[in-house]
Amino acid sequence: MDLPTRLRSALGAENVLTESIERYVYGKDAGLRRGDVAVVALPASTAEVVAVMEAAREFGVAVIPRGGGSGLTGGAVPMADGVLVTLTRMNRIHEVDADNRTAWVGPGVINLDLSTHTAGFGLHFAPDPSSQSVCTIGGNVGNNAGGPHCLAEGSTVSHVLGLEFVTADGEVLTVGGKAPDQLGLDLRGVLVGSEGTLGVVTRVLVKLTPNPPDVRTLLISFDDMASATATVSGIIAEGIVPAALEMMDRNALRVVENYIHAGLPDVAAVLLAEVTGLPEAVDAEARIIEEVARRHGATRVRVAADEEERTVLWLGRKAAFGAVAQLAPDFYLHDTVVPRTKLVEVMAAVQAIGEKYDITLMNVFHAGDGNLHPIMGFDLTEPGMEARVVAAGEEIVRVCLDAGGALTGEHGIGTEKRAFMASVFTKADLDAQARIREAFDPDGRMNPDKVLPAGSRCADLGRPLPEGAWV
């Protein structure tokens, strides 16, 4: 029996795809890279995932987990022959425990669907990536996804209390739970953000956050980026961590305004600030933010008058990746983090890189936590364009690292930034990471060639014999 036949008998013929067009569709994520895989499996339960893992083990092939496919760094792109496990059919919300503000959900549940489902309990799932209407909770777990509201609430890992996952050997394990401080090593914590390299997550215990009783959203205009950035630090210095603090530059404002007509100003930069809480509290905080902004040279402060206007302002922020289609047929963006104090100089350097490679750049990003998302618009059919885009991207990453930043804040390493890991970590650091992976998956069949560069596991590290130590 070959592998597809084996999988068909376990999952049903319609849930195992081998046609070339089907494999083509599942061969890439929302980024630039494409891979090829022999078979795509769509399990509907933990037991079916176990069956897939057992089959993959027997056939000695890789397993590549995939959620909604909205990732940008190649995490779900198959790099080795094997089974691509798409978890979108595991989209049940198994339990909402409003008393404990938790829910057990399948990995295929769409991020926004979860918050919509729990709205009746006055609760939501805090991580809100721009892709939240299509990305899955399992994908959020894999990448430790973020979003604008992670400034105050933290990334996905702070909102995952437990996980059920299947190891490469087909063992089902549950880690974490509703009680705090679970005993032993925090395997939950290391599984989040592991990009499917440690196992396949089949159930997620998420923490739900109370919906705020009230909210104020401010759109603040500036004539220069430095004033906008100084305002960010100024707000936090007042003791306030806004629920979100986003920035858009002039290019982004023009493109988005032309796309959704939200009344966005044509200025050097805007800050989108949001505060949540009791009505009296949000009014006070909004007032402080406005004062700080004016002190730092804000030219205009617009407070959303109602929920409709707030929605429009947020649409402007979240639609940026769609709006870029006006500029060029293809786009690509990097996700890096720099210390907030380095934002101005890094933004200038990023702009210069765009000019050097003659690529249109716009910036829409999480200013509160220094998480940059320079968006490049281009036409891939132009000869040599892909190489230019990749080279420009690498220079951008380099500039951010030189400023003391991190490789990624919320998109993950995938294949895109694997090579950069050696710029950030020593051989011993990478070896330690590879050891963690090895403990979960000794054969290295879980999502191979992702996250860690090849050769990270150094056999010669760690057991040095101290000279003359023996008595």
């Binding site: 404990n100 990448n143 430790n144 890992v157 702070s158 394990l173 880690v175 739970g177 509703k178 009680a179 401080d181 679970q182 005993l183 032993g184 090593l185 925090d186 395997l187 914590g189 989040v192 953000g193 592991s194 109370p210 705020p212 630090s233 936090i236 003791g239 306030i240 961590v241 809480g277 009791l278 509290a281 006070a284 905080e285 402080i288 983090v337 210390p339 104090t341 999480h366 936590d369 220094g370 998480n371 930043g405 991190a406 804040g409 919320e410 390493i413 950030v424 020593t426 650091d429 330690a432 990471q433 050891r435 963690i436 403990a439 996250v451 057991r463 040095p464 130590a469 023996w470 008595v471």
Partner: protein, 365 residues
Amino acid sequence: MGVTSVRAIVPSLLARATDPIEGAPESRLTLRPGSAEELAEQLQACSASGLSVLVWGGGTHQAMGHRVVPDVIVAMVAFANVVDHQAEDMTLVVEGGVTLGAIDALLGPHRQMAIVPEMTPRSTIGGVVATGMSGYRRARYGPTRDHLLEVTLVTGDGRVVRGGGRVVKNVQGYDLMRLSCGSFGSLGVIVQVCLKLWPRPAVAATVAVDDADRATGVVHRPWAVIETDRRTTVHLAGTNEEIDAQAARLGGDPVPGHAWPVLPDGPVWSVRVPANCTREAIRRLPPVSFVAQHGVGVVDVATDDLTAIRPWAEAQGGSVVRVRGAADGLDPWGTPPATAALQRRIIARFDPDRVINPGRLPGGL
């Protein structure tokens, strides 16, 4: 002394021997390494000779976990330096032996705070991470593990390894920070961490209430709702307007500041259950002092043995663990997690000879 006493102490370690630490258990040798590199060499020597190592920070939580019979005590006194405080970026890099009191004193003038336990200023940050202990503000800000941006470990076999990064948001590589949090040194000695800081809100206030459950229902995301054997308090922070609005909903007068409760000196056990089991946990306690964190599910109890309610707590998916005291002969953890085999495989790749705090974790890992 245990069976390890037949092991020979290597001359290179003997040459570095220092005075014993006051309050520490008996050991054959006490080391006070001055750097990560020196500690790495010492741990290599301990691994090569199979010497068990007890890591000593502030000595405030040594009662946690199974007893270790140490050949060597490694005291972290020299790891007391503040490496980097980027006030504008809200990050703080400190060595593992820096105390919580020192961190608080450093951050106060900057109107910043680290989300760590409030009432154990002598604890070291390395010890807090190793034990995974959190403070009262976790109800609002999350546990300690959510505020670790970077960690540097010296592994049991003497490698210096770092994970994470020094910006407030990073997902580069596996989360070694969270894996270290609550690891009790089983992966390595925590020699340096980077903490995510928070601005100190303008005003802090406490409102005394009669009914914790009612209070939890009407306030919006307070710092903490704490019930003790003496009183129940809601801890608030923010602008004056925020405090006034919350207090009005609670129907009480805000008193400036946060008088966090402290249990009397002596043994303490901790109940950890889902938040909605907090009330039932209190009901099951013996008539002694306690501090319960509503909305969190942690109840600290001034007693030397709380194993009687362990079966109930474990049935709720929780645990009952020893935090302070010396009640030898009692199981400090209870039923180990079902993932013990996987945990053992991870630990074996960081401390293959199992020299740091051997057996201290649940399941004797």
